[in-house]
């Protein structure tokens, strides 16, 4: 138990101490001592600030991510379960996936303005691809014997979707959702850097432009912590949802 704790905490502590010690006497205006950054962190990220800037960011992130998940899974199941549709759609999907979403921000701004809608669309436009492509793969890989069994027992339509296709593709779907999560955080920040009046990305750029360097750094640290927290949450959810899958894999490895 203690050994595990040491392993988990070891590297973060070493990095923190190194940064702290190395920057302690820093005269560089752009790389202030960590001591100063931490002080700025406490002063900057007050509850009001969290409510005014972090909450809107998280709301956009949540909306964009959920929408992308919904669209990605729905379209992915449709394409994965239908060979003809898949043949028609796959090259197009690969093309869209290859377009880096940040370059779409100016385009999306032209159509969707600079409000929350634009930011949500930017997040969706980037997050939907890993979910969609992984869902297609997952649905396509549904075991033939299992599909026969389902058919023989009259599982068709919605029941087939719910009891066969979705659970059987869930390991891949969740892998796609994990990729999408980090993309969503990146796009949340980027979309707020372009045109916004609040949000984490906006605030960090604002600090940088007004040469509030320790505050800027503190914002970056907050973003890192946020990403870490979300991915831990995701891991917990995944462990719960895919308990059967990990158990199955362990059982197969043992035999």
């Amino acid at each position: 138990m203690i050994k595990r704790l040491l392993l988990v905490l070891g590297l973060p502590v070493v990095l923190f101490v190194t940064w702290y010690a190395a920057s302690a006497n820093s005269e560089n205006f752009y790389a202030p001592p960590l001591r100063q950054i931490l002080a700025a962190f406490v002063d900057t990220w007050t509850p009001e600030r969290l409510r005014a800037d972090v909450l809107p960011s998280l709301a956009r992130l949540g909306a964009g991510y959920l929408l992308a998940a919904l669209i990605g899974i729905a379209a992915g199941v449709a394409i994965g379960a239908n060979p003809r549709l898949r043949a028609a759609a796959e090259p197009v999907l690969e093309f869209f996936r290859a377009v880096p979403p940040p370059v779409l921000v100016p385009v999306i701004m032209l159509f969707a303005g600079i409000g929350n809608g634009m930011k949500v669309i930017v997040i969706v436009s980037g997050c939907v691809w890993p979910v969609l492509l992984n869902t297609v793969e997952g649905v396509r890989a549904t075991d033939g014997v299992l599909a026969d069994t389902a058919r023989a027992y009259g599982l068709t339509g919605a029941a087939r979707l719910r009891h066969l296709l979705l659970p059987s593709a869930s390991p891949q779907i969740i892998a796609g959702l994990r990729q999408a999560l980090s993309i969503a955080i990146i796009l949340m920040v980027i979309s707020e850097m372009f045109a916004a009046s609040n949000g984490l990305g906006f605030t960090i750029v604002q600090f940088q432009r007004s040469f509030a360097i320790p505050e800027m750094w503190s914002g970056i640290i907050l973003l890192g912590l946020l990403g870490f927290g979300l991915s831990e949450l995701f891991r917990l959810a995944e462990r719960h949802a895919l308990a059967w899958y990990h158990g199955l894999r362990d059982a197969q490895r043992r035999s």
Binding site: D143, V145, L146, D148, T149, R151, A152, Y153, G154, L155, A159, H163, L164, P167, S168, S170, W244, Y245, G247, L248, A251, Q252
Partner: protein, 263 residues
């Protein structure tokens, strides 16, 4: 009752055609236990899939009455149980789909699991069980469905010999108790003779019914005595020689003589 008439199945891939089943005609009476044997690759699985409605025949017809009265047990138990569901949910799902009321479902699931000797595993996942137990779950699922016809596709080919003997006895006792029609496909000649009231022998592909044999062993069978019974040995020899003949493509011949001597 199960009736197969002039069943033919041709697989087409591009310009290539493979005739898997040529012309199959047979009936299985209601409540009968019939075993189907044939050399490997003779289209046994294709036949079963046609009967189950999973595959459309090229010509001919299959009459099974109501398809919702049909249950199937596959050879690949590891791939025919839903790994994300507990044993109970696996058995329960087809019943839910059939819109059986909840109280009745609970009864059926409990009865079926007891019948296959799996009490106390309701909350386990299939992959936590041994191969033989997983196949028992698949059998329980089929039994709980209360089918009038039960199709079994080499169900015991992938379990060890002792488990296999237990499962054979399980199938016979379930059949005697519940009185459903069973079509049991196997490549194991001893298994076919031990289990069946009648054995249908298929030829090599393209497949026809090569011969058929009524197993006139007593209804009460057990692994030790039945398999040592001289009558059992005669019957299995006859089936064996027919299958050998089917492999080389010479129908009847020596086997025919033996069978006429039998009669």
């Amino acid at each position: 009752m199960l009736e197969v008439k002039g069943l033919r199945k041709v697989y087409r891939s591009g310009s290539r055609e493979v005739e898997a089943l040529r012309d199959l005609t047979f009936t299985v009476a209601a409540g009968e236990l019939v075993c189907l044997v044939g050399p490997s690759g003779c289209g046994k699985t294709t036949l079963l899939r046609c009967i189950a409605g999973l595959l459309g025949p090229t010509s001919g017809e299959v009459t099974v009455g109501d398809r919702s009265g049909l249950a199937i047990v596959f050879q690949e138990y590891g791939r025919s149980l839903f790994p994300w569901m507990t044993v109970r949910d696996n058995v329960d799902l087809p019943l839910r789909q059939k819109k059986v009321p909840k109280a009745r479902r609970r009864e059926l699931v409990a009865e079926a699991l007891t019948a296959v000797g799996l009490d106390g595993t309701e909350s386990a996942y299939p992959w936590q069980l041994s191969g033989g137990m997983q196949q028992r779950v698949a059998i329980a699922r089929a039994v709980a469905y209360e089918p009038s016809i039960l199709l079994m596709d080499e169900p015991f080919a992938a379990v060890d010999a002792q488990t296999r003997a237990d499962l054979e006895d399980l199938v016979r006792s379930l059949w005697q108790r519940l009185g459903m029609t069973i079509l049991f496909v196997t490549h194991d000649i001893d298994e076919a003779v031990y289990l069946g009231q009648r054995v249908l022998m298929l030829s090599a592909s393209p497949t026809v019914v090569q011969d058929e044999l009524t197993v006139d062993l007593p209804a009460e069978r057990d692994q030790l005595h039945t398999r040592a019974d001289p009558r059992f040995v005669t019957l299995r020899t006859r089936v064996y020689s027919q299958i050998q003949a089917a492999k080389t493509g010479t129908a009847s011949g020596a086997a025919g003589e033996l069978s006429s001597a039998d009669r």
